[in-house]
Symmetry: C2
Subunit: 218 residues, 2 copies
């Protein structure tokens, strides 16, 4: 299994690259600048020589993968997709990891988008033949980055088709300590993105960095 | 500590009445019809003779309590508050437990309200001197009702003032196995209510009845 991570040089992207590669997934770390991707990949591999992580430009990463993670900041997500929409492979799946969050006087708030969620907003920018799912939105970057810290939590996965959702569920299941939870249609991203904002608020209120979720009773 | 439960004869109300009374809180179970409240209280006390649970009409329950839980179905919540808004004690706190959910072909969906959440919608119907908080929205009725099943989960609490939020946090902390999580301003109800809809969806998808949440890393 191979994945491309568009914006893989950011905190969420680097954490996911490390966790996925450690789980045996071949990872392409994409960046707008190939040199930056090379630098990040060099740092990620330090002390972990066997990991399959390669640098690429975002556009090349997309062209080379059937499964693409989008981890750029939400403010840059539309531009990133518009620049590379022609590069998506036929039948590939984009897993959106963005969260539309802004801070007002230190308080995290959801940036409202007309479609109800970042996912539904970005879905409109993709070619029809590309499937879309959401995953990894509620995982704190600080926890992802610390490879020896068990994730010990759930991840909520939704998608615009059962096939896209299955691909994302399957990928999430590869990461040890992470249990993917089928959360239904893409519209569930409205809830999942808000949960990330809630977790950031809990982090601030309780002075922690690693609030995340588990479903009890499942 | 004493609480009134408006609509305390429904599934969520009965479960909360039992859990709170078992924790030593004096509970007034309110109903539109006093006879129905009496019947429910009789059933709740069966086999638990020592519990402090009393029946009342909704309006009397409100008039006799500084802390009022609203557990009617969302569709009846506005009417219930409008019928009794003059009965609230000065400085009392209403804890909204309602969730605006409807089912389309078996799929649970949030009923959109212009204010963004049931809480914010209902807040407008309350007198200024009454504080408002949200709590107990994500607890499944089936789990609440089974007193010997540990809750073992968190409850998200938000409020329109630090005072109202504190009162709700304090009440939730009395229930064994339930950890209240300070979730900030009343606007957080937009997230919390959606999480209940997500949990109902997970229940349906995984054929369980008791999906609820815990914050990991806290």
């Amino acid at each position: 299994m191979q994945v491309a991570i568009v914006g893989g040089t950011g905190a969420q992207g680097r954490g996911l690259a490390a966790r996925l590669a450690a789980a045996g997934v071949a990872v392409l770390v994409g960046s707008r600048e190939a040199a930056h991707a090379r630098e990040v990949v060099r740092a990620l591999k330090e002390g972990h020589e066997g990991l399959s992580i390669e640098p690429a430009t975002n556009e090349d990463a997309i062209a080379r993968s059937d499964l693409v993670l989008l981890t750029v900041p939400f403010a840059h997500a539309a531009a990133a997709l518009q620049a590379s929409r022609e590069r998506f492979r036929s039948g590939s799946v984009l897993i959106d990891v963005t969260v539309p969050v802004a801070f007002e006087k230190g308080v995290p708030r959801l940036v409202e988008v007309p479609e109800g969620s970042a996912c539904e907003h970005l879905r409109r920018l993709l070619p029809e033949h590309v499937g879309m799912a959401a995953a990894f939105k509620t995982l704190p970057a600080a926890t992802l980055a610390t490879l020896d810290e068990p994730l010990d939590c759930d991840e909520f996965v939704c998608g615009d088709s059962p096939a896209a959702r299955s691909r994302a569920l399957e990928l999430a299941a590869k990461i040890p300590g992470l249990r993917p939870v089928d959360s239904g249609e893409l519209e569930a991203a409205r809830t999942i993105e808000r949960m990330t904002v809630l977790a950031i608020g809990i982090n601030k209120r309780y002075r922690i960095r690693s609030a995340r979720f588990r479903v009890v009773g499942l």
